[in-house]
């Protein structure tokens, strides 16, 4: 019972709705099962609420290994199929360095330095291409 309670507390990431966007804040060390649960929760919440964007704040995450990287990329691909866009916000520099060396560059995943920047990115009109990078104005 006690252990079950601990697992539930450790194993749940809150998905908050802010207007047209879902805000997910990852903190500390995630269990594999928690990451899988989150993946499912986000899809279900998008369909239920009809939001058009998801911001995943990973500024509190100390490491992203290939498992978590893959889950994040899958979340982005999933939300795209559900007519929403995902932006990964606040990756730590050491995490970025490590991911590149690991060989996991997560193409197709939009990123922003902060949650605010991610929300601004989502507020911009959708450009046809799926792959992010809309810093330049198209002519």
């Amino acid at each position: 019972m006690n252990e079950d309670f601990a697992r539930r507390v450790a194993g749940h990431v809150p998905v908050l709705r802010l207007g047209d966007v879902l805000l997910v804040t990852l903190q500390g060390d995630l269990h594999d099962s928690t990451a899988h649960q989150l993946q499912q929760d986000i899809s279900e919440t998008i369909v239920r609420s009809g939001v058009s964007g998801v911001v995943i704040d990973i500024s509190g995450v100390e490491i992203v290994d290939s498992f978590l990287g893959r889950v994040l990329a899958e979340i982005a691909a999933q939300t795209e199929l559900l007519a929403a866009r995902t932006v990964l916000a606040g990756m730590r520099p050491a995490v970025a360095v490590t991911l590149v060396e690991l060989g996991l560059t997560l193409p197709g995943l939009r990123t922003a330095l902060t949650t605010e920047a991610a929300l601004e990115l989502l507020a911009q009109p959708v450009v046809s291409s799926r792959s992010g990078g809309r810093r330049e104005e198209s002519p």
Binding site: D32, D65, S66, V97
Partner: protein, 146 residues
Amino acid sequence: MHTAAGVEARLPIRSDMDLVWVRQHVRQAAALLGFGLVDQTKLVTAASELARNTLVHGGGGLMEASHVGSSGVDGLRLTFSDTGPGIADLDRALSDGYTSGDGLGMGLGGARRLVHDFHVESAPGKGTTVRVTSWVRRPPRAGGAV
């Protein structure tokens, strides 16, 4: 003196909960030995990849952490061992993008790039042992350059 106690450990790898303990221990040990933030992150990430291999492909096993020293430089050595099915083709397992079963393929090849020394022993039916070591890079001595 105080470092050995915080670095040396034998941790079981039997569930995804154990992966969390492995990562936490490696983080603490690396910090204790004086690794910088980026190197800590690389070590913890490598440990996470290797521990997951031990769990998923090796059917569970053990991580041993130890403090190694060579000519005044501190290092952290991590040994992951399992008694699982072993790896038939090591070269292939170490190549990028190789994946078996669950698609957790960055594991070996990726982890190798994150550490200084990488050694793997495996044979079909004999299990797998991966030993990795990284060294603390000391900053250059002050007083030299202008």
